[in-house]
């Protein structure tokens, strides 16, 4: 049996490492490789979508819709499918007209998410971006838990040239929020950015803590435009959907910051999140520098989803 196992590993490794000497092809590689719309074609699309982390559910939904449209419209050529497919995802991922209004209004941005996804970095980048637009920005350092979280955020605030309230390790995050709101009012701040400690969404008491902070924001700053952003790591798989679902119970989520999109992951789970919860991606993180935050562009995102590494000899994992 162990012989068999090694065989499996070896085959798998060979198969996967074929993708190494790859050339990156555009979206056409998926569609031009087929001469007719058959099961093999749909299977290929399934592979592309699942490998992009859309998940089984969203993938099935998209492909079912495509099959229906193909039938209804009597489409024969794979090429013609392309437009249908990409258009429908693009349309779905479209960010509304009013998505970025908060940038120009008096607003509070509440940034939440699981550990290590890039909340602090994104807050720093947002601060820099808004400051450059001439907005008066203040940061609330409500991560009072993780070691040196305050120092990390202060460094970002320095870079952006904005002030920070709170951040002392061990202090109460809700009182940081309270103090920051008062400071924001007193100083006639335009945008108050709140960084919070990372927490896994299945930790009940930690999620309650977030709810408390949310209540304080609601109560103390009712006039401000509220922007509640969940940060999702673009490398994360299906769990990101669960994360979004759970963080949506804490506050009325208005958008997603999808980070680490400078890697090779596609961030396709955002499609599933958008389709189930209707929360749009507003920003993507594309690196660790101040300027590495971009407004979400649905066209680019969908094109990148179908951008794939194609094996030079068309080699798949060998059949056993």
């Amino acid at each position: 049996m162990s012989e068999e196992k090694r065989g499996f590993f070896a085959r798998l490794r060979d198969g996967l490492s074929k993708t190494r000497a790859n050339i990156v092809h555009g979206i056409d590689s998926v569609f031009s490789g087929f001469s007719s719309i058959d099961e093999a074609f749909y299977e290929e699309l399934e592979e592309v979508l699942i490998m992009g982390d859309l998940g089984v559910g969203a993938t099935e939904e998209i492909l079912d819709r495509l099959r229906r449209q193909v039938k209804e419209q009597g489409i024969r050529k794979p090429e013609d499918c392309r437009q249908l497919l990409t258009d429908s995802i693009k349309e779905q991922m479209h960010v509304g007209e009013t998505a970025y209004d908060f940038e120009q209004e008096q607003s509070v941005v509440f940034v939440i998410g699981v550990n290590g996804v890039g909340k602090t970095t994104s807050v720093g980048k947002l601060a820099g971006m808004l400051k450059a637009q001439g907005r008066r920005v203040l940061i609330a350092a409500a991560d009072t838990f993780r070691a040196a979280a305050g120092e990390q955020l202060s460094e970002w605030a320095n870079r952006a040239g904005v002030d920070v309230i709170g951040g002392r390790e061990g202090s109460d995050p809700s009182s940081v929020i309270f103090d920051a709101v008062n400071a924001a009012k007193a100083r006639h701040i335009d945008v108050l950015l709140c960084d919070t400690a990372g927490r896994l969404h299945n930790k009940k008491n930690l999620m309650e803590e977030l709810k408390k902070m949310n209540r304080i924001l609601d109560r103390e700053f009712p006039g401000a435009h509220r922007e509640n952003l969940v940060v999702l790591d673009g490398t994360t798989g299906q769990n990101a959907l669960v994360q979004a679902r759970e963080f949506a119970k804490v506050t009325d989520l208005t958008g997603i910051i999808l980070t680490k999109m400078d890697g090779t992951a596609k961030g396709g789970i955002a499609v599933a999140v958008q389709s189930e919860l209707g929360i749009p991606v507003k920003y993507i993180g594309v690196g660790e520098r101040m300027e590495d935050l971009q407004k979400f562009d649905a066209d680019q995102f969908v094109n990148a989803l179908f951008d794939r590494k194609e094996e030079e000899e068309g080699g798949r994992i060998e059949e056993p």
């Binding site: 993780r146 680490k260 890697g263 090779t264």
Partner: protein, 451 residues
């Protein structure tokens, strides 16, 4: 929850399977279709899943359906065995240099994977074993990364070596090795900056460290929630830097953690530890068999019990008393036989688990069907094939005795080994369980948990 509906679905599919005696192709395919979905939902890489399902299909078609199982369960049984085999059947310990010699461990991985926390946790683990540990701050990029390591070092009582952000990581590493040598340290842990596997310059930085100082163990820290891209990350780190083992982080979340299988499949490298919380003590040994069942989404019984035990505030004295009882050799294979009887009387495994607090765990409802009566009968046969001395003193079980027992029970040697290993694990759990059940039903110290 998402998992529950998946399990339900599986149950429904199984109801419609009808092979009797042997598994038919149709039934195998129907069951594997669901398995495939389960694995993809768990984030196992698409191509890994494809290959895996194919190989299981080949093995399963035509196999005898064991008495007491339905065809679907039989397929799952095979799936589980294959997955466990893939995950590696043994718990792997990190290889340290002999005696007091210095072992240099390098931690690497993507941004936000949890390296700095893992470094401090590892330090604590080794210190508990009496090692002298030095942590070195080689992340000169991320704001306050050094302070984070220093703060964690303080909490663990571990010295942290740092040269600020003005030096190249390779030079910091070299100086740290020297410092560790002078101070008689046994372990040096190099914490490095998070980096993308496609960032050539940053990947070269790691190779440079390895070219200039002797690194004995390079550990890749991977977020358990990683999606399809885990294969690319693991492969690139392994090929460009060379990886000896893996630490899986954020396993206290509710992710199924299919990335673990993908990583194992592409690198073949063992997973050494799992990180299960933000407290610096939250680092555990990795058990491949538990991971296999977690990925499959069938409720990880053993981990659950560990967790439940850990969550309970058993007062220390009581625990010590119980532990002492256990240590007196009170729990042996004879007790095992006895406890199996007890379990039947108490309404099976799920009945027992239902007594525990915090049972809102995915897949719990399905435990009943996981308890395989046939397998219990087989383990009983194994115990009955032991001599009375062996039953009382499991330590006697050397390889030749195990072979004899295997023959006696009509099972193969791996089944015997697996059983004995599980037995040892459950012995550990015994230390905590009796205290928990004490208040329930006057079975104080008497209750035994068979698996």
């Amino acid at each position: 929850m998402a998992f529950e509906s998946l399990t339900d679905k599986l149950q429904n599919v199984f109801k419609n399977l009808r092979s009797k005696g042997r598994l038919t192709q149709d039934d195998v395919r129907a069951a594997l279709k669901e398995v495939r979905m389960a694995l993809l939902e768990a984030d196992v890489n698409f191509r890994v899943v494809k290959q895996f399902v194919k190989s299981v299909e080949e093995r399963a078609i035509g196999q005898d359906v064991m008495n007491g199982l339905n065809p679907g369960q039989m397929v799952i049984k095979i799936v589980n065995e294959e997955m466990t085999a893939l995950m590696g059947s043994e718990t792997t310990e990190i290889a340290l240099q002999p005696g007091k010699a210095l072992t240099v461990i390098l931690l690497c991985g993507l941004q936000g994977a949890g390296k700095t926390t893992a470094a401090a946790k590892l330090a604590g683990k080794f210190q508990q074993k009496g090692k002298k540990v030095l942590l070195a701050a080689c992340d000169v990029y991320r704001p306050a990364a050094i302070e984070q390591l220093q703060r964690n070092g303080e909490k663990q009582g571990t010295e942290v070596f740092s040269m600020g952000t003005g030096h190249k990581p390779v030079n910091i590493a070299r100086a740290a090795v020297e410092h560790a040598g002078k101070n008689g340290c046994n372990i040096l842990i190099l914490d490095t900056a998070g980096r993308l596997h496609i960032d050539e310059e940053m990947m070269a930085e790691l190779s440079e460290i390895k070219e200039n100082v002797t690194v004995h163990q390079t550990l890749l820290v991977v977020d358990a929630m990683t999606g399809q891209d885990a294969v690319n990350v693991a492969r690139e780190f392994d090929e460009k830097v060379g990886v000896d083992g893996v630490i899986l982080s954020k396993m206290d979340g509710d992710t199924r953690g299919g990335a673990a299988l993908s990583i194992k499949a592409v690198t073949g490298k063992p997973i050494l530890y799992v990180s299960v919380g933000e407290k610096l003590s939250d680092l555990e040994q990795f058990y491949p068999d538990r991971m296999a069942s977690r990925i499959l989404g069938m409720g990880d019984v053993l981990t659950l019990i560990d967790k439940v035990s850990a969550n309970l505030d058993i007062d220390a004295d009581r625990e010590k008393e119980m532990a002492a009882k256990m240590k007196k050799g009170k729990f042996d294979f004879d007790d095992y036989l006895e406890s199996m009887k007890q379990m039947r009387n108490m309404g099976g495994l799920s009945g027992i688990l239902g007594m525990f607090p915090g049972r809102a765990v995915p897949g719990m409802g399905d435990l009943e069907s996981m308890v395989d009566e046939k397998q219990l009968a087989r383990t009983e046969a194994i115990v009955l094939s032991m001599t009375p001395q062996e039953r009382r003193n499991p330590k006697l079980l050397n390889p030749s005795r195990k072979h004899r027992i295997a023959r006696g029970a009509g099972v193969d040697i791996s089944t015997v080994n697996r059983f004995i290993k599980q037995f040892e694990q459950s012995q550990k759990m015994m230390k905590q369980l009796p205290g928990m059940l004490g208040s329930k039903g006057g079975r104080k110290g008497k209750f035994r948990f068979p698996f």
